[in-house]
Symmetry: C2
Subunit: 337 residues, 2 copies
DNA sequence: GACTATTATGTAACTAGTTACATGAAAATG
DNA sequence: CATTTTCATGTAACTAGTTACATAATAGTC
């Protein structure tokens, strides 16, 4: 039977010291600054560590250093690609910087986010990466009271109370919409995800409203997913409503939209144009290839990782960082002039 | 200037005790078993905790309980949907069970996985969820030496040295291939991702090899992504090679394949059939809708969460759990009889 | 009113490391 | 050869909690 020495009979520093016939300080030195220990002693201690299968307790280290080396990220969901690429980049960079990343999902619900943030902080997370600007006062207070570094991704706003590291959603949407109008599209239907607590979608809508004279002319709200995009188009077609172009405020919805238009026998961009925002890798492979606005989410993930790590280590609040969105012209927008 | 009291001047248990005029034991009781403390005292202590903004140190708690409440998941990547849904489900269930989830990516590289596993364990993770069966001996030894609970997802094998919680890749691929043959498809091209260190892809290929008399007849290896699927089809078309059906061993490649076939003007399933494996949500919305094998990855995520949490808490190794794959007939497979 | 039971609280010893300071011995300097 | 410096190591006091045990103060019983 395998003994179940979960934590109990695991060797600790004192065991190693006793077994090797040295003091705890010496063992600690072998682990942390081996140069200070004579070679013979060091060898002996190292061998004892091997023999006893000794592993330093992370908790005990943390208690002394006040550092857990763990950061947390709160994202709305992992269920689609929108945040996955950012997280992937963030995780990779953080590991290089010596941190682990705890991921928690919020379902775009500020209350849930607050609860999860509390759990993460209670579990020893040293800093947080939040998504967007919609958070509860309780969360802000918690961060301030505990002096927890926290940065915000997926948006850019120098005035915001936390450092933002991301793209300007307003600009990105304007870029997309203006491309459509510059190609002669008059009647554009905006397909967007839920706006409740989603300031990024709201900012994109606001930008378009501005360009349409203060009021969005035609918009349909749907689920922020491939399925949502498909459903929106299905409804539009069922109602027999016509338009020049579809602007999906996120690529995933554009993917669904394109599929559904193909199914309905509508030619894109001959019958109508379609645009997305984000430029996921798959956007280059849709049929037809999706014209979209590129959001450098990978770069954002890396910068966020560096920003939060720096803040935690050097107690220096990072400046907001804007990553630039750019228009990617492919095949789903026609020139109507 | 905001004081930078990162860790230092943060109030601790002793500060609260002194300020409230009670002993440290009483404060600890207020936090852990408030019923044992008289109401007046409890109120006073709670108020002092509020005033001083006292927050329990996770590290100090962990040192006593030997429990960090943190689990780790090692997945090949977050860059596409394949693992995102599983992780999402896992994270949600783990939070319910009182754990946090640290996510690390391995790029399907056992050495990198071993390094990351070590980092996670050194950072205090109590248990691991691994993906697939390709791991280094060093990793196995590390897990055994440290008595770290670890379960494996995305496969099912009762003989494996760690408990597997997942689907049987062999069965899933057989299910897909047999559907194609039962519909009269003779000449099937298998499109699959890299097999190096990817035992799941290998198991799927093995199943098909068996059904084809020991040797895969036609296969093309590509990147495990939408882009990869599209490229594979592009190459196939460029070479002018014909076939009855395309079996993509993962939905994401099927998405790319369908797009590319649409682009080439090939009718699916009239010209050729296409199948995927996984049944991502988007599979129901492709054009045409993708026939695939459903892998209940959400259920797998939940079960894995429960299995590893149980093992960590009750020191009881879970039994392997198989989640069943099922055929989902949609529109991309024609009957050739 | 004395004796026991119950309840609330405190003391101090744990958990597993790190580290300032002290000590002793060997090496370098005058 | 004595003195100072350097190096290796040990002692014990920290980090921030938890908890077994002791004690004091009520409450309940005979």
């Amino acid at each position: 039977m395998s003994q179940p020495p979960t934590q109990k009979n695991r060797a600790n520093l004192r065991d190693v010291a006793r077994e090797a016939g040295v003091s705890v300080a010496t063992v600690s030195r072998v682990l942390n600054s081996p140069a200070l220990v004579q070679e013979a002693t060091r060898k002996r201690v190292q061998q004892t560590i091997e023999e006893l299968g000794f592993v330093r307790s992370a908790a005990a280290r943390a208690i002394n250093s006040g550092r857990t080396q763990i950061l947390g990220a709160l994202v709305p969901t992992l269920d689609n690609d929108i945040f996955a690429i950012t997280l992937n980049a963030m995780e990779n960079r953080l590991v290089e910087l010596g941190f682990s990343l705890v991921v928690a999902t919020t379902d775009e619900d500020p209350e849930k986010e607050t609860r999860k943030a509390k759990e993460l902080l209670d579990n020893g997370v040293e800093g947080l990466v939040l998504t967007g600007k919609s958070h509860t006062d309780a969360l802000y207070q918690m961060l301030e009271r505990r002096y927890v570094p926290a940065v915000v991704i997926s948006c850019f706003d120098t005035e915001y109370r936390l450092p933002t590291i991301g793209y300007d959603n307003h600009k990105a949407a304007a870029l997309a919409y203006q491309h459509l109008t510059s190609c002669g599209h008059e009647d554009v239907v905006i397909i967007h995800g839920p706006t409740e607590y989603n300031d990024r979608t709201q900012a994109r809508l606001d930008a378009i409203a501005e360009l349409q004279g203060g009021q969005i002319r035609r918009a349909v709200e749907t689920e922020l997913s491939v399925t949502g995009g498909a459903q929106a188009v299905r409804n539009l077609l069922d109602q027999g409503s016509d338009c020049d172009a579809l602007l999906c405020l996120s690529d995933v919805m554009a993917f669904g939209a394109l599929n559904e238009l193909n199914r309905a026998g509508k030619s894109v961009p001959e019958n109508l144009s379609v645009m997305g925002i984000q430029d996921l890798p798959a956007a280059a492979e849709t049929y037809p290839r999706l014209t979209t606005v590129h959001l450098p989410v990978q770069q954002m993930g890396m910068q966020a990782a560096e920003g939060i790590a720096d803040w935690v280590v050097h107690q220096e609040r990072p400046r907001p960082i804007e990553v630039q969105s750019t228009l990617v012209k492919r095949e789903t927008v026609a020139n109507r002039w």
